[in-house]
Symmetry: C2
Subunit: 460 residues, 2 copies
Amino acid sequence: MSLHLSFSSPMLPATLKLRRQKLADLIEVPVILWSGGSSSRNFPANVFPFRASSHFLYFAGLPLENAAIRLESGKLTLFLDESSQASALWHGASPTRDEIATKIGADAAYPLSALKDQVLDAATVAVQDSQTRLEQTRLLDRPISNYPSDIDLKLANAIVTLRLTHDDAAIAEIRKAIAVTVKAHQAGMSATPNATVEAEVRAAMEGVIMANGMTCAYGSIVTVHGEVLHNDRYHHPLRSTDLLLADVGAETATGWASDVTRTWATSGKFSPTQRDLYNVVLAAHDACIAAIRSGVEYREIHLLAGHTIAAGLVDLGILRGQPADLVERDAHALFFPHGVGHILGLDVHDMEDLGDLAGYAPSRTRSQRFGLGYLRLDRPLQSGMVVTIEPGFYQVPAILQDSERREKYRDVVNWERLADFSDVRGIRIEDDVLVTESGSEVLTAALPTSVDAIEQWVRS
Amino acid sequence: MSLHLSFSSPMLPATLKLRRQKLADLIEVPVILWSGGSSSRNFPANVFPFRASSHFLYFAGLPLENAAIRLESGKLTLFLDESSQASALWHGASPTRDEIATKIGADAAYPLSALKDQVLDAATVAVQDSQTRLEQTRLLDRPISNYPSDIDLKLANAIVTLRLTHDDAAIAEIRKAIAVTVKAHQAGMSATPNATVEAEVRAAMEGVIMANGMTCAYGSIVTVHGEVLHNDRYHHPLRSTDLLLADVGAETATGWASDVTRTWATSGKFSPTQRDLYNVVLAAHDACIAAIRSGVEYREIHLLAGHTIAAGLVDLGILRGQPADLVERDAHALFFPHGVGHILGLDVHDMEDLGDLAGYAPSRTRSQRFGLGYLRLDRPLQSGMVVTIEPGFYQVPAILQDSERREKYRDVVNWERLADFSDVRGIRIEDDVLVTESGSEVLTAALPTSVDAIEQWVRS
């Protein structure tokens, strides 16, 4: 473990106390949450950077490795071993258990070995690393998995209720992550004119995140092949006619995420066709954000994106027909085959470790429709939620070359007209939006979205 | 899986064929090696960057995810599933199984499901990710662990024999990693005068590695607290009187590592005391490299480093006595408490997943001596090995404040004189050295080691 406490806030104990009191209102059984351990890369001592479980972070506030907390009736007990002398040689002095307990406002603190006597009837959430998962299974004497049941399911639902909307401390952390992400995108834009390969732009962006003491909340996408939705390759050369899509977000030291995408012309100047399609996506982006407020169904926001994109493509002569009919037939999904966004918090797809428990309201399940199946969020919006809004336009060969789809949509797609837009493979514009009672706040507003402003940033 | 083959060499099939023929000379049973899968970070879809098992990479040449190879009598069979259409949407088109099989010169290629019929009497090596480890255990119907026995131990020994010395293809890859690492260190030095915090220097260094399409072979150490040997924190401010220790190394796309440390003054100018101690470490570094050649015991190289450091500290008035006696008493280890280096290859501590099987010659075990216990390599050097040479000087509070040690060494340490050197907390100089019949080649020679040259690089 290598922990420093310089980033911990004096407000942390009060924040955590409120969170666990709210949890106590929702569940009566004791709760034990493990932080997890590091995962090995190519040999046991060569590990990936440690990431504590998000549920642990929510209630314990600090990324403690190989720790557990017990929550009961609003009380917090910390279980953590102090580091050995050999560890001090290799990893430096660590704060003591009591110092950490004070920082997080724990009511009591013990070595990890004491945990085994306090597990009776306790609920938990599965961590990601399998070593700790085995320990969870052993101590609780039942299989612990990503598909919780019984009291674990009850706990998962209680945590979802809490984590769906954010308190001020959480929003402050998300704002910190976003502030660094904005700088990263700015650096990426500035680095592009002198870069010859995607990897150089990625390095400029992630360098800003690293220099600010943060990590990436997810694997960055920085590519001239934006049509590959989760592209994790960075080897393509940048050609002067390319659009570059960058989906890069910072995560704070205590685990709070941001998630931002911008698309810019590598040359600094969009072609007329690139500008036209970009503005279709931007219209969808703006319409969605304007429609956000507490109580609105997120699914409607998604369909609004589809409608706006369909309407824009009709205007450009790429689609034929009425936008409402086109969306009904999922024709928009030929070019916008993913959901318009998701909830954001301690995870970039918040609480996705619990499957669709957080993303989908009770009794709702994923649609079989081509245009809805990839939607990660299907709930009424609530004040205090942070959601992403990320419409896009892509020319995905696997979709557009598919003979069945070409047949199905042959009357609505003008393939010849589409060919005029061959210099656009992928565009996405993604912001992080805080839902309020009366509307929303775009937390990522410092990063421009208009073609003119982006062109200026690339050339600056 | 997201694989591109742009980095694969036309020589790869010939290289791999030779490796598996050599393996066939050493072991008669069939061998199955799994590549492993990605490890989850905070939720299943948010994974750490995939790293294939090093043993798989050695014989299969490419970082294929969720693949296996079977080696028997010099023949290679590849087991790999082709990616689905949904995967093409999210991750882009992948090369087909047959294209990959051709790239690596496989004799046959099948889907993964065919593997279960070819496992009889096969030996294997445990991978790091637990999901694949379960699969290994299931298919081979016996526990597969980091502590191999029976045919798995026989295989591990055969692989150690092969991987201890490198063929031309391996050395070419290590040279590629080193070339990028040299640039990274250069960038770190140049970035230091304008940096205010360790993280900024780290970002400059890792940015070069990333921009060149490589990854870090291990968690970087970039710190003004070099006395914390495996420091993985980057939050300390840089003060003008600090030395900065940077232990950063690139890894190529096919997994070959480099491992380099330099120490420089944040101001660009070493103080006289910093220069004096740096030159003690440099003398040890140079003496060790001069002593390397095939047949020499690496343990003797380590003791030579201890001797040279002890002699240097006597000259500076920090230690009292004869260097040979001081080393005999492990007094050098008060300031140089780790081994002088290790083997380097596909892992930065090569084959450390097999414990000391590679590092220690048969029948040798770790010493209980304070000055030898951390030595990772105790074998006669062989032509074709690549080893690191990384002596250091540290003032580790956990060692120097230890009352038992202070008592034991009270006659040999001049504590008052030592206090004059309080502006040195940690110095290390680390190069990667290829052992040859008649001597050695310093593969990292492009990066200077002298104080004058380093000062110039920092100020350039």
